[in-house]
Symmetry: C2
Subunit: 183 residues, 2 copies
């Protein structure tokens, strides 16, 4: 709290006066982020009709948001790691609704024959987790390559990364003409 106040250029007591205690401030940040996710996915979903297009748009939205707001996937990872110990109930409710979106898209895709019968929850976790994980991993790049990892010299643009992630995930989820997949 001291550091937050300092970097915000305000007196620490003002945080408590205007926002409340640490948990309230944290809830404000998390809920603000969730609202951004809702607004952005809603906007992107509106212009996509097919389940394939919607799922791709969903993945791209998550990844773009994660890359443009680096602190958010950081918070999300820490929160998931702790089992949501610090998440206010309202945040969990709205996260459940986002999960419901993916669930619906996958169900639609399965009904229309576009998707293979994959587990919607696993699909959702891979989509969101892929975006969040990818965004966070970028910060490890420099340290990893210094440790001897074979990484390409330059970081691909966010759009390129999104394409590659979506490529793997969607080609795994989309139904193929022949070659059935019970596995």
């Amino acid at each position: 709290m001291d550091e937050i106040a300092r970097r915000a250029g305000v007196n620490k007591a003002m945080l408590y006066y205007h926002v409340g205690d640490k948990a309230a401030l944290y809830a404000e940040v998390v809920l603000g982020f969730i609202a951004l996710v809702e607004a952005e996915t809603g906007r992107r979903m509106a212009s996509e009709a097919s389940p394939t297009g919607r799922l791709r748009a969903l993945q791209e939205t998550f990844l773009t948001l994660a890359l443009t707001h680096p602190s958010y996937p950081q918070i999300m990872m820490r929160e998931i790691a702790s089992g949501g110990a610090n998440l206010p109930a309202a945040a969990l409710q709205r996260m459940a609704q986002v999960l419901g979106n993916t669930h619906r898209i996958v169900s639609d895709g399965l009904a229309s024959g576009e998707f293979r019968p994959v587990d919607p929850i696993v699909a959702h976790l891979l989509i969101v987790g892929g975006a969040v994980f990818m965004a966070n991993a970028l910060r490890l790049r420099d340290r990893l390559s210094a440790a001897g990892a074979e990484l390409p010299a330059e970081i691909p643009k966010p759009a390129t990364i999104a394409d590659r992630v979506t490529d793997i995930l969607l080609f795994g989820i989309a139904a193929r003409p022949a070659a059935g997949g019970s596995l």
Copy 2:
């Protein structure tokens, strides 16, 4: 450190006497986990020949380890979230080698025609991230369903989850007989 000593049933000063300070203790834990990952992946890799089998085995190994040792994916997520701020250099080096394994498998699969030309690093992050994320997300289940998410009543067995994750990822990475995929 107080709580660690208490739950370990030893006097706190003994931690400092035998192990060292907090960073040393943490490094011990992280390196122990990485050694476990190395041993387990090595064991599984030895009995798999094809790139497909190796990649599947890799994913299953990560997921199984993450599910049987819940504290490890927790630590990994926090560490990735912080950009590896607390990772000792040795840990980063060995993590880079694990990354190299995936890179090699994907390259082999591409050379043998089993895989589509996917980004090996993205593939690695999805494989590891999928396992880590999945394992951590299980702890959110109860709270999410209480918040109204549509989740199945019972938790699938780890092996089932591993199958579903691998199903999506591998069918996205594996080459298909016809129906090429430039996307």
